[in-house]
């Protein structure tokens, strides 16, 4: 079966430092992949290459087995790759709907923004994620952390994404909101989307992800099925870069 996404031998230098030095991952449709590693292991850089924030210096990205060029965020979005960044990347002075459609506004004939159509579609997707979300017309900078997360997720799922990258999705959230994100991940998975979750939280990763890719110093330590390993095995991979004996 062809993979939904495959990243092969990705290299990326910042100044003289190799942030990625032969990194790789792959993802099937309907699969949730956990991407793990220390701070500075290169996991955020790797997903930023995938979403077009940093173009790779070298390496291949394949989508459905076809080689694709991702030079900027626009390319990635066109290919159906959506990203929820750790910082959420929201324009705090704009309202929720303006953020959801930022860069992909609905326009009327003649190019005028179709505010009514965007409000309609935007409020629908927000309601699907959180029926209690009613602050549609205030700048998102004045929303709570959980509500901001809802806006960022709404933006990612509004446009029929095939691949969803979540960078530390639950780091800033309370228990109820973390559960909401978990439910959403499972629902999107059953709809056939491929998800990549970058996380520090082993508990979250073990409950959501079917497979794990562990990175260290810009290189892959290994790829394991979650059911085959324990949390201690994974900690060993992260800290010592050692593959577990059993796997």
């Amino acid at each position: 079966m062809t993979m939904l996404v495959e990243m092969r031998d990705i290299h990326k230098q910042f100044g003289g430092v190799a942030a990625l030095d032969g990194a790789e991952l792959w993802l099937e449709a309907g699969e949730v992949l956990g991407l793990l590693g220390h701070n500075g292991a290169g996991k955020s850089t790797l997903v930023k290459v995938l979403c077009g924030a940093y173009p790779a210096d070298r390496g291949e990205i394949l989508l459905d087995g076809q080689r694709v060029e991702i030079r900027n965020p626009r390319d990635a979005r066109k290919l159906g790759i959506e990203t929820i960044h750790q910082t959420l990347a929201l324009a705090d002075n704009l309202d929720a709907v303006a953020n959801i459609f930022l860069g992909r506004e609905i326009v009327k004939w003649g190019g005028a923004l179709d505010q009514a159509a965007m409000d309609h579609a935007g409020q629908k997707v927000l309601a699907r994620l959180n029926p209690n979300f009613t602050n549609h017309h205030v700048p998102v900078g004045s929303l709570s952390g959980g509500q901001r997360q809802v806006v960022a997720i709404a933006r990612a799922i509004q446009f029929q994404a095939r691949v969803l990258v979540m960078d530390e999705p639950t780091a800033a959230l309370g228990p109820a909101e973390t559960a909401m994100v978990g439910d959403l991940v499972r629902r999107l998975q059953t709809e056939g989307m491929g998800l990549i979750i970058v996380s520090h939280d082993l508990h979250d990763v073990f409950s959501l992800c079917g497979r794990l890719t562990v990175m260290r110093t810009g290189r892959p330590v290994g790829h394991v099925r979650t059911q085959d390993v324990t949390q201690d095995d994974v900690l060993g991979m992260i800290i010592a870069g050692r593959m577990p004996v059993a796997a």
């Binding site: 924030a53 965020p73 002075n93 004045s142």
Partner: protein
Amino acid sequence: MKRGILGSLGIDARLAALLGTLAVIWLVLHVLTDGIFLTPRNLWNLASQTAVVGIMACGMVLVIVTRRIDLSVGSIAGCAGMVIAVLQVEVFAPGTWWNPWVTLAIGLAVGAAIGAAQGALNAYLAIPAFVVTLAGLLIFRGIAWLITSGRTVAPMDPTFQLLGGGFQGSIGDTASWVVGALGVAALTFLRLSARARRQRFGFTPRPLWTEAVTILLMAALILGFVAVMNSYTRPRTDIVQGISIPVLVLIGVACALEWLARTRRFGRYVYAIGGNPEAARLAGVPSARIIVAVFALMGFLAALAGAVATARLNAGANSTGELAELSVIAAAVIGGTSLAGGSGTVAGAVLGALIMQSLDNGMVLLGLPSALRNVIIGVVLIVAVWADALWRRRAGGTRGAEA
């Protein structure tokens, strides 16, 4: 969220506060000047005086919203004004019908090109806008001087002079009423069609009577303005002046920029870049191109203001636009534009320009020396920004408590 009366009428509370401030200033000046300030003659002059700074302030809002600044607008105005004057008087044949139009077009193109070049230096070479335009301030003031080695060039073409206003440069009473009526019709159409469109998407609209009250209030403002302009007659005649051409230009510029800012992708991206540049980039916003366009637009408007000033003075002079950058930035800031970027409105900037010009005009009527007028305007600037900061903190606080 409690919306209050203004909210339910769909009126921006900040703009309403600015209008209220303006009303208070006008009443105080009226009393202090023993009833000279609020006369048709003075209001007509005040409107014309506001045009030059107001035209540039509209563009400055967009520049500041993107977290940038343009210190070169006064010099661009001077340079473009001088280019127009020299071409009109000394290069092309004077007296032909096309001369004023062609020279104006060239002047505006020069301004836009200068702005685009400065924007490109900022967007593509990452030189801070403050530095690029500070250099521009020196460069283009210098070029304006070099073009004629400091000579003043006059007189301008009679048709071109109309752009500066004056007794000939007004459109008279009938045309002024037509402009007012068109304004009211456009306003009514825009509000009602937006309302209809929202209903089509299943949104419950605001009660019709609030819509009607809003339209009536705004129509009253527009028609009141026309009535005042039309009640000023040329001295010792009963020829009605009506709206002067520079004021008409300012109105046109303000409407065009409000339209750009509110209903086009361009405007949305300008605000997104100011709110969070990284988020805009990750959302695929072509930030560099937008920045270049914003500066090009600013340069164009600075040149337009320079043309108006040149026409008003009836000469291309080296001092045209000198220190205008400061009044323009002050107008934008008094009008609620935050130097931190991301917020500010074109309408606010026009009101800011009007507030500053009202103070200056009133103090001239009171016979205050220009040094003292500068002191007072400086104090007003600080008070305005302080009030704005208080406003933001309060607004932020209630929202925080709500969330």
